[in-house]
């Protein structure tokens, strides 16, 4: 049976979501998205620099890949609403990753403002993907508010430190009905694989792919890791034991050689 993630009214087959920041060029980004077979990519919204304009990032996103705007730069719910509405006016659709950070050093999310923004934006018809500090109670509140998924962080954005929040994320996976998508801090394919093995619905990776010496190859590596972890989760991981359990038969040995 095909393994499909139904989310925000869409059917997603590839559970690796890719962020588009920090790539060396739009062309490399496009090739990396193709190598990852990404079906969801995130972008940000910023003031145009009238003196030094860049190429439109959307031109590098392959057709068929859904685009989700993040509200990065927002420090409270009101600013997040403003960004989401502007993005929709810019033709980007209804998917919004609610990212509200007031802490400049660790870029940790403001859970309270994020909940407020989720409540308001779902009422305006947005499909909300709130980026949060992992917390079960907040996850329940976000689900009640109509969030499509919740996106707990693995470790601080861009830190490449992996799933440091594993225990809390596991609890959320166990208790919440909405999909759990680990976002931020995943630095290696093995980190992404771990998230999938414990039952997360998807992961979002940006820095580790975009800043790799070969982003296209790294995108492929992450994609394989995500698929691998997902298959393992669906299959069921084995029990663990303290002492050895022989894999080879313990009978039929040769006689001990005589000295």
């Amino acid at each position: 049976m095909e393994d499909i993630l139904t989310i925000g009214g869409e059917k997603i087959r590839n559970r690796l979501f890719v962020g588009t920041g920090k790539f060396p060029s739009i062309e490399i980004m496009r090739k990396a998205l193709l190598a990852a077979r990404a079906e969801v990519a995130t972008v940000a919204l910023r003031r145009v620099d009238l003196k030094n304009r860049g190429t439109n990032i959307l031109s590098g996103i392959p057709s068929g890949c859904r685009v989700m705007v993040n509200t990065s730069g927002a420090r409270n719910a009101e600013e997040a609403l403003r960004i989401a509405r502007l993005a929709r006016a810019g033709g980007l659709g209804n998917w919004v990753k609610i990212e509200i950070t007031a802490d400049p050093r660790y870029l940790l999310p403001d859970n309270y403002e994020t909940l407020k923004a989720t409540e308001l934006l779902t009422k305006e018809g947005f499909s909300c993907f709130p980026y949060i500090n992992p917390d079960l109670v907040l996850g329940r509140q976000l689900a009640e508010a109509g969030a499509e998924a919740v996106m707990p962080l693995g470790s601080p954005i861009g830190s490449n430190r992996g799933l440091k929040t594993e225990e809390m994320v596991k609890i959320m996976v166990e208790e919440l009905k909405v999909p759990i998508i680990v976002d931020a801090g995943l630095g290696k394919p093995s980190h992404a694989c771990k998230c999938m093995e414990i039952g997360c619905a998807a992961v979002l990776v940006n820095t580790a792919i975009a800043t790799a010496s070969d982003p296209i190859n790294m995108a492929k590596a992450f994609s394989l890791a995500v698929e691998s972890g997902r298959i393992a989760f669906l299959t069921g991981l084995p029990d663990t034991f303290h002492i050895a359990r022989a894999s080879s038969p313990l009978t039929g040995f040769l006689d001990t050689l005589e000295e």
């Binding site: 009238l50 509405r85 006016a89």
Partner: protein, 68 residues
Amino acid sequence: MAKVRVNGREISLKANVKTVLDFVLTEGLIPDDVVVEYNSAILPRAYWGKTKINEGDRLEILSFVGGG
């Protein structure tokens, strides 16, 4: 020449720039690539040509960029 604030900076409008659409095109921006906020309200593209820019107006011109 009318002085307006664009993306937080005060600038003097060129004489031939009367509307938001004039401004966007004169700056060499591609209309489909940008989103405009006019005096703190989103201005849909359909209104750019009808919206005159006046002294003291505030414009925010935004576009999508790479982000995670």
